[in-house]
């Protein structure tokens, strides 16, 4: 029930059901009543005809003519029956059509009165009956009472009503179905802009689009505009945040560098070294704190996916220059089209620090592999980044210490400290983990696993 269209469709279906239900009930009732009235009028006519046909015989008893004008009285089982009884209920005459059938006596009306009734044969055939009790004046001034009764089987009428109902339901069902179909098509058309917004937001998430287009109906332009404003301000905010951090780092570190340069020119060696230690510590704090992950401030919405192959190639080009004397052999295994969902700077920190450490420690060989997380459906959903080298490796206890501790201020594992701490922090901010093993190249192998974006959300 969370979809707009299913809500609308359900409401409309209920409304249609109520409306058509009421209409059907009213029409059915009107049709039935009109039909019954017509039957009554006909019965009345037959009764009058019977009265006219009845003649007293010589003995003063009423008798009916041998043949009646209405042929249905003469045909056996025709559905139209008539009989004549005296007040005691004795049947004096019965139409030929009622041969073998027992028309129930029913309620006898007051003398001189009509009475319509609904009765039935023993076999259950429903009947509409009209009885008339009359006082027949004879020629001798005497009078005798009789009850005339006509009955018509309602089988035909009921069949007619059933047919009518069937037709009624059929038509209304067809109309309702057509209306629902038309309505859902209309709804699709109406909701198209909403789906368009959804598609465009997905495109923004996937980095194929910068902002929402302006091709929306008037009612939605406001939403689209606000959405764009939100995206823009979110982007600006994360840019500003990074810019502030960069500036802070820059403005803190240049004076640190200057202090160190000044110290170098002093004669007092011991003082200089102690002072230098403090500078070193301040530098590490600045480096660590200001290189915290950028993505924690930016929503996934504003992050275009990072083309992993290209960024790794750029890093390796740079590192080839820096380690030109050593020229390590890089082995790159990257899934084609592999993308990282996150901030480019964060990805460069992850891969850059790991590669830099590997270059520092390797004998000759450095291997980097980037593959999607196991079980991730889309290629951009998660990432396993592994960097290995053929250097001396990291002893297990040192590895445990590196993984457990937050920031390392001592340099018992020189070169792995800050970089690895930053990698660990960034991995964690994406909901990921860091593990240290021995590479089959012989040295350290550091693996960063980042889960799919959906589970990393809300971090």
């Amino acid at each position: 029930m969370n979809s707009l269209s299913s809500r609308l469709l359900i409401s409309v279906s209920v409304l249609l059901l109520l409306f058509f239900g009421a209409t059907i009930a009213v029409l059915d009732r009107a049709f039935t009543e009109a039909g019954e009235q017509a039957r009554r009028d006909i019965l009345d006519g037959h009764l009058v005809a019977l009265l006219a046909a009845a003649e007293p015989d010589d003995s003063g008893e009423l008798v009916m003519p041998d043949r009646l004008r209405e042929p249905r009285f003469e045909r056996i089982g025709s559905g139209l029956y008539a009989e004549l009884r005296n007040l005691e209920g004795k049947v004096l005459w019965r139409s030929r059509s009622a041969l073998g059938l027992e028309v129930p006596e029913g309620t006898v009306p007051e003398l001189g009165n009509h009475l319509f009734g609904r009765e039935s044969f023993e076999d259950g055939t429903p009947l509409l009956t009209l009885s008339l009790a009359v006082d027949w004046e004879l020629d001798d001034g005497d009078s005798k009472s009789y009850v005339f009764k006509v009955a018509e089987s309602l089988d035909g009428f009921n069949a007619q009503i059933a047919g009518f109902r069937k037709q009624l339901f059929g038509w209304f069902a067809a109309v309702a179905f057509t209306m629902l179909l038309a309505f859902s098509m209309l709804l699709r058309g109406l909701l198209k802009p909403l789906r368009q917004i959804e598609t465009e937001i997905t495109e923004i998430e996937e980095g194929d689009r910068v902002s929402l287009s302006s091709k929306f109906p008037t009612e939605l332009t406001g939403v689209a505009r606000n959405m764009n404003l939100l995206i823009d301000s979110e982007r600006a905010r994360s840019d500003r945040y990074r810019y502030t951090l960069d500036n802070l780092a820059h403005s803190l570190k240049t004076p640190l560098a200057a202090m160190r340069a000044l110290l170098n020119s002093r004669q007092d060696k011991d003082f200089g070294e102690r002072f230098d230690e403090q500078i070193e510590r301040m530098d590490e704090i600045v480096r660590y704190q200001l290189r915290k992950p950028a993505a924690s401030v930016a929503d996934n919405l504003v992050l275009a996916p990072v083309p992993v192959e290209k960024e790794v190639a750029r890093l390796i080009d740079g590192l080839r220059k820096v380690y030109r004397d050593k020229h390590p052999e890089f082995e790159v295994r990257i899934e084609k089209g592999m993308q990282f969902r996150g901030d480019t700077g964060d990805f460069l920190e992850l891969a850059g620090n790991l590669l830099d450490n590997a270059c520092k420690w390797c004998e000759r060989k450095v291997r980097i592999s980037v593959v999607p997380s196991v079980g991730a459906r889309a290629i951009a959903s998660g990432m396993v980044l592994t960097v290995g080298d053929d250097g001396p490796g990291i002893p297990q206890d040192a590895a445990d210490a590196l993984l457990q501790r937050g920031m390392r201020l001592d340099e018992s594992t020189p070169g792995h400290g800050i970089g690895l701490a930053v990698v660990k922090d960034i991995a964690r901010s994406y909901g990921g983990r860091l593990s240290i093993k021995t590479s089959d190249l012989g040295g350290a192998e550091i693996m960063v696993s980042i889960p799919p974006v959906t589970t990393a959300k809300g971090q």
Partner: protein
């Protein structure tokens, strides 16, 4: 050799320049991006040290401009922004190495020497050619494993020539790179120093390390023993 330092922080720039001068380099200084680009394009320099965060024009733009103009001398970046994004940007713009602030002078000096050596095509800081060995980190010259006593100026000349082994270096270039700007320029001085060097390195004139090309300059003539 002539270095260019572009750094906007005066204390840092001056102390860096002083230290580099003490190590025997001629140093030009620029305090902002525009001035820096001017020096980087117009002066005969062997290596530039460029801070990335500069007023007027960013270090990155200077590097791009310098490379676009076809200058190939090595560039060392000084950066306070030590995020990989910035390092990679700098390196792919054409820089050759980076040093992150705050640095120890020794770090810069080591990178500078390594870059100069590499730009001469040497893979190690110990240069071997024929019977000669020059150790850049120890500023020491050996012939047939025997240390040769050299003055600092003589050392600078042989280092400059040997790093560029096989290339012809004019007298003007030598004076330009080895003297500070305000030094009195006299090409005869160079001739005198070359003469003394030859005597010290090759007293019996058997290995002939320095070749004179009349009207063109000098060339370090020994074959390199080590190939990069």
């Amino acid at each position: 050799m002539r270095l260019l330092v572009i750094e906007d922080d005066a204390t840092l720039r001056e102390s860096l320049a002083n230290k580099l001068s003490e190590s025997g380099f001629a140093v030009e200084q620029a305090a902002d991006g525009k001035e820096g680009l001017y020096f980087a394009s117009e002066y005969p320099i062997d290596l530039a040290i460029i801070d990335l965060g500069l007023p007027e024009m960013s270090g990155l733009e200077i590097i791009k401009q310098v490379r676009a103009d076809g200058h190939t001398y090595p560039i060392l970046i000084l950066t306070a922004r030590d995020r990989w994004e910035d390092k990679v940007d700098g390196l792919s713009a054409g820089a050759d190495d980076y040093v992150v602030k705050p640095f120890h002078f020794e770090e810069v000096s080591a990178r500078v020497n390594a870059l100069l050596r590499r730009s001469g095509g040497w893979a190690s800081s110990v240069l071997n050619a024929g019977p000669m060995t020059l150790d850049m980190s120890r500023q020491e010259v050996l012939v047939n494993d025997e240390a040769i006593e050299l003055t600092s100026f003589e050392y600078k000349i042989i280092e400059y020539l040997m790093v560029r082994a096989g290339k012809v270096i004019s007298k003007t270039e030598l004076t330009d790179r080895l003297y500070d700007q305000d030094f009195e320029r006299d090409s005869n001085v160079i001739e005198v120093f070359i003469g003394r060097l030859r005597k010290k390195l090759d007293p019996d004139n058997s290995i002939k390390p320095i070749e004179t090309l009349r009207g063109r300059g000098y060339r370090f003539a020994l074959e390199r023993n080590q190939v990069d």
